[in-house]
């Protein structure tokens, strides 16, 4: 395949911009370069003081109900609660935006009879962390799989199915992932008892 390939310094690319702060996350793709995530200054202490007022919405140009979130308080920049049939559309929109799938997880709200499915996304080039959440009925937890948009969702969905019993419709291989092959229990449900 390759020729011996003389020992070249392969590394030493000096990529990102000025050391101190975030790579200025201005232009969020075409439409409106909305104000972008609060350009946080070099903060010496733990929660960096948020200079921006009510937290601007970095994804206001998207057709999804995103709300800006104070990063310093919550750890993400935008949050959207969508209906269960919108998750694929949300994934497609965020995929076009250049985001990457961070993880998928569930939260069992037993008292309310609901399961929350949480999709975390991050942007591989700028400070933009996005949460998409939806709620489905707890007694029949079914939601569409987004593995066609993000193939990485495959394992996260299997794991969520393991832990909560949420069925991801259209998933190619919804078999136990972390639990034994014959597992028929969902340990992170709040009413789980061995």
């Amino acid at each position: 395949m390759t020729t011996p390939n003389e020992p070249q310094p392969k590394v030493d690319s000096a990529p990102s911009a000025s050391p101190p702060a975030v790579p200025a996350p201005t232009a969020v793709v075409p439409p409106k370069p909305v104000a972008a995530t609060a350009p946080r200054p070099a903060a010496p202490a733990q929660p960096p003081p948020p200079p921006a007022p009510p937290a601007p919405n970095p994804l206001a140009h998207l057709p999804l109900p995103f709300k800006g979130v104070d990063y310093a308080a919550k750890g993400y920049h935008a949050d959207a609660t969508v209906s269960p049939d919108q998750v694929i559309a949300a994934a497609e929109v965020l995929d076009k935006e250049g985001l990457s799938l961070d993880t998928i997880t569930g939260v069992d709200w037993m008292a309310e009879g609901q399961m929350e499915v949480v999709y975390d996304y991050f942007h591989p080039a700028k400070a933009l962390r996005v949460v998409v959440r939806t709620r489905i009925p707890r007694d029949n937890p079914e939601i569409a799989s987004i593995h066609k948009v993000f193939p990485g969702a495959n394992w996260h969905e299997r794991e969520t199915h393991d832990f909560f019993g949420i069925r991801f419709l259209g998933h190619p291989n919804l078999t136990p992932f972390l639990l034994p092959e014959d597992a028929d229990f969902h340990p992170l449900r709040k009413d789980y008892a061995p």
Partner: protein
């Protein structure tokens, strides 16, 4: 006429001259000085097992550096880490595949009892590998230091030969 009594008499008569047990002792000495552990890391403890085999701690000072990737060639299984229910069958198979005589060291709290991963209602962890097969030496710690693993090896040698190779260092 040979009777059991006469045989016993004969054995006791020649006991000062012939020692059959010496062969066993010699074999035990050989085994104790060249334990071949199975390369079998499970979790955190496996890193300390690697450290025990690497430069500073150098387990080969005690003849146990020949880590074998195949259970068929090993006579010592160091269970280094948590065994869960999905893994238990595989661990048991590995133990069964090792030829006799064989010994087992349970390294770390997880292998001893499930360690920090045991709580009421737990669903995954095997609470101690002695539920799967007999264990000769238990080494506590989370994870145990490499010195502790070496001490465990010495304990196992002591079990095999009946005497300790090195004097015990008393804690001050």
């Amino acid at each position: 006429m040979e009777t059991p009594e006469s045989n016993a008499q004969l054995l006791s008569d020649c006991a000062p001259y012939v020692k059959f047990a010496k062969l066993d002792e010699m074999l035990a000495l050989g085994r104790a000085n060249s334990l071949w552990p199975l390369t079998f890391g499970l979790a955190c403890c496996a890193i300390e097992m690697m450290a025990a085999g690497a430069s500073r701690f150098d387990i080969s000072r005690f003849g146990a550096e020949v880590f074998r990737p195949s259970p068929r060639q090993a006579d010592l299984m160091i269970v280094a880490g948590t065994v869960n229910k999905k893994m238990a069958a595989a661990v048991k198979t590995l133990y069964d595949q090792m030829p006799e005589p064989k010994w087992v060291i349970a390294m770390g709290n997880c292998a001893i009892s499930g360690g920090p991963f045991v709580f009421p209602g737990q669903y995954a962890v095997v609470e101690g590998v002695d539920k799967l097969f007999p264990v000769d030496v238990f080494i506590p710690g989370c994870p145990p230091r490499p010195e502790a693993l070496i001490e465990g090896l010495l304990k196992l040698e002591e079990k095999l030969t009946g005497k300790r190779r090195w004097p015990t260092v008393k804690p001050e």
